[in-house]
Symmetry: C2
Subunit: 490 residues, 2 copies
């Protein structure tokens, strides 16, 4: 893999100075076009130690307009970061649409280091690399350009570079103990790098491997490649409008929601007793979960007026106010709009030991955005996989994730709308839109069917709750929460 | 202070049920008006243990529309939080304009606990309370409504409440060791509370002290008070447009900038030698600062084309890419616009040990926003104090803060604009606006004079750098940075 990159490459100072002005103009021009086209650009720099990553950070910051770019290097994770899935900090650092994010080593760092120091084996490394591929795929499918540079040095070149840095008193500090240690580990590191690059060089996010020994060569090569990738991404942007995708329709007439038994009822007295008992249990269980630093996410979807708020208000009294947060999903802010749609959910992930309750959620992508046409067919179809990957990241981190759909009949919804109009402080909840949404009942029903089919997984199953009777629905939800918490604590 | 709040107050269940529907309607109505008027509302709940804070969180979340409100309770600070000024997490949790933020104990917690456990004396407590007053003042002057509730219980009532909670197996968990400990500390706690409430009951953010023993009384009192405060804030909003304020003009003809000697020059050779020496020194000093977890902020203001970017690019090669960030200040995002103008600067404060370089800064408020009329006279005049307070928070936390104004003559600026047009990759830097800004040179000069006069403080002085000669300016800045770092490390 590194055969070509071992070869000595040299560009004379004169040739460099000659080529530079044009390249800089071209880079700036492309940066402006990228900004105008709203394409997020992720440039990733990695490679062997002392191969010139720092120098490239410096010149790229000089060549490009720094107002539209940002460099991120990652140190040891903070406790806030350690308490979330490993990719959390990478998600948060992603550039907005139209901006360039320069990321140093980034998501490749921890898995490669873990393998190098034999904290993990090849199977675990491969699992991490698959996760990285999914991550980069989600970004490129969302329109991002991902450009990855691997700076290589031969063993001899690396030794020579480090010696040189050490000779000069002004650069000696740059050589760390880790560098010297890595020099000894060169062969093993290269083996890990080869496996990593092989597994993560995908059609949409390929690696460019180059020799980093000669500064002029390194800089010009990176500039040329970046220009090529930016230009071809921009022409693809201009040429190809998103193609409409055929949507697979269910062949059957039956629906998952239609199969639910909505006649289930619970007496008020039983309800009150069960509620008190289950709330007590939840309060005990969440305290134990908190002590074990286990988070949980309770997610509620359902028809308008299905009683999501009512259920949530029966859960929260059992929780410590410092320990939970209810997140009602409203329209995204402009910062959120200028990222991948999952970004805002990553953003609000709780620290360890917390309970987060979502009143509506990331499933809006495959429900309202699908039915109302706010997302293209490609976007919402892609979302099933992205959501499954996201939820796997959460549950892998030990987060207990429960997803509830509260189901009521169309008639029951109508009855509740009318009832709300009679209570002054509930009237604000009813809008014209609620009535309009009823016209698309069938389309929503199909969307729910597909959502459950595609995203009810072993690690994050859906619970469909018959909710024509509020007492029944609430107890059902409280019971399922207790069961899941008890299982998690085993 | 608590005499009135010791008195038993009781509201019958019947009276409560009778009053509630109207109060809830009124609260929702006012919440919608607050949202429409874009007023941020900060409701703060504090008081003695077991006085019903949790119950109030619960009912307020039930009464108000949760989509426009958010509850925040604060646990032990994370390491990310500990590495910033103490108020950082409170700034970040502030509600957006039009939203209601319900804050539990919040910024009152740590100073009161520190005093209670005698980690600090009264003088240090008072200093913290002054800081709180400045914080709340910045918020109310920015248009926020701050409503603070103190829930009191007599010693006997507190004991009775805790006993009651302990009797019931379902509420026993709510009584913590801390509660039992506080019961013993009741008298001392009340003394600290009295001092705190006395010092922080300001005209704009007064405390409402109420007895929390009876749930019905407590809930109705809070609802009534909240309604009153919301209504009066809304009527003030409708009635009083911001009054134009007379701006004090400098009586003299001389200006600070005019007094600088712009003829200072440096030979290229001396420059190169000095630059290398100082960069080496900076790299050593920043590594030592990092080891001591000391952050620094380097802030650059100056005329267009004064060479801010050039200076910054002479600093960054001396820094470790993982350890610094350059923040160019562009237009605020909508999330930023919907907060106090300092919010976005709080938001990006670095973790401990980092170097943050601002290319333009919070001083935009008293420079471009003043001259171009983007901020009202009241707003930018208030900003001097707010900025001084902000910078004191930073330097108190041990952050080294250096502020540079790069000064060039009007003629030199013109020469540089023309020169830039000749270099292809610098052309993008020149816009029509740059030429328009030249017409307001005098106004900007007056604004700089006033800025330096009002914000050059002992803890954060301004450095005015003659920059007609780039070599001279760069070396001057590098030298001042070294001097400040050396002083900080002593």
């Amino acid at each position: 893999m590194f055969e070509l990159a071992e070869l000595k490459n040299r560009v004379s100072k004169a040739a460099y100075v000659d080529a530079l002005p044009d390249l800089r103009s071209r880079l700036l021009e492309l940066q402006l076009q990228v900004e105008a086209a709203g394409i997020p650009v992720i440039v990733l720099l990695a490679g062997v130690d002392a191969a010139g990553k720092g120098d490239l950070v410096h010149v790229l910051n000089e060549w490009l307009d720094p107002r539209y770019m940002r460099t991120t290097a990652y140190g040891e994770p903070s406790d806030e970061e350690r308490e979330r899935p490993a990719h959390w900090r990478y998600w948060l650092a992603l550039p907005e649409r139209g901006r360039i994010g320069l990321h140093i080593v980034a998501w490749y760092g921890p898995p490669m280091a873990d393998r190098l120091y034999e904290r993990i084996g090849n199977a675990a490394l491969d699992a991490e690399l698959t996760r990285i591929n999914r991550f980069e795929k989600a970004l490129t499918e969302d329109g991002a350009l991902v450009v990855k540079f691997w700076l290589h040095l031969s063993k001899k070149q690396q030794r020579r570079r480090i010696d040189k840095l050490e000779e000069n008193p002004e650069t000696r500090w740059r050589v760390t103990d880790v560098d010297r240690k890595h020099l000894k580990l060169y062969d093993r590191f290269i083996a890990v790098a080869e496996r990593t690059l092989r597994e993560t060089s995908t059609p949409d996010a390929p690696w460019l491997i180059l020799n980093g020994y000669d500064a002029q060569y390194r800089r010009l090569t990176v500039a040329h490649h970046l220009i090529d990738r930016l230009a071809s991404r921009l022409s693809a942007h201009a040429a190809a409008p998103a193609l409409p995708t055929a949507v697979p329709r269910s062949a059957t007439e039956t629906s998952l929601l239609g199969s639910l038994d909505l006649s289930q009822r619970l007496e008020r007295e039983t309800y009150q007793k069960e509620k008190a008992r289950l709330q007590g249990l939840i309060s005990q269980l969440t305290r134990r979960l908190r002590a074990e630093k286990r988070s949980s996410i309770l997610l509620f979807e359902g028809w308008d007026a299905a009683g999501k708020g009512g259920v949530i208000r029966r859960i929260t009294p059992a929780l410590d106010a410092r320990n939970y947060r209810v997140i009602p999903i409203a329209a995204p802010t402009d910062e959120e709009k200028s990222h991948h749609y999952l970004w805002r959910f990553w953003r609000h992930l709780p620290r360890a030991g917390k309970v987060t309750i979502y009143d509506r959620s990331w499933y809006g992508r495959v429900l309202v955005e699908r039915v109302e046409g706010f997302a293209t067919a490609q976007e919402w179809m892609r979302a099933y996989t992205e959501i499954n990957d996201f939820e796997e990241d959460l549950t892998d981190r030990g987060i207990v994730l429960l997803k509830f759909w509260l189901h009521i009949s169309k008639e029951e919804q109508h009855r509740r709308f009318e009832e709300r109009k009679l209570t002054a402080y509930k009237r604000f909840k009813i809008t014209e839109e609620d009535y309009r949404n009823r016209e698309k009942w069938g389309e929503y029903e199909a969307a729910v069917d597909e959502m459950v089919t595609r995203t009810s997984t072993e690690f994050a199953p859906w619970y469909l709750i018959p909710a024509n009777d509020k007492y029944h629905a609430r107890i059902e939800v409280l019971r399922l929460i207790c069961a899941a918490y008890e299982k998690a604590l085993k």
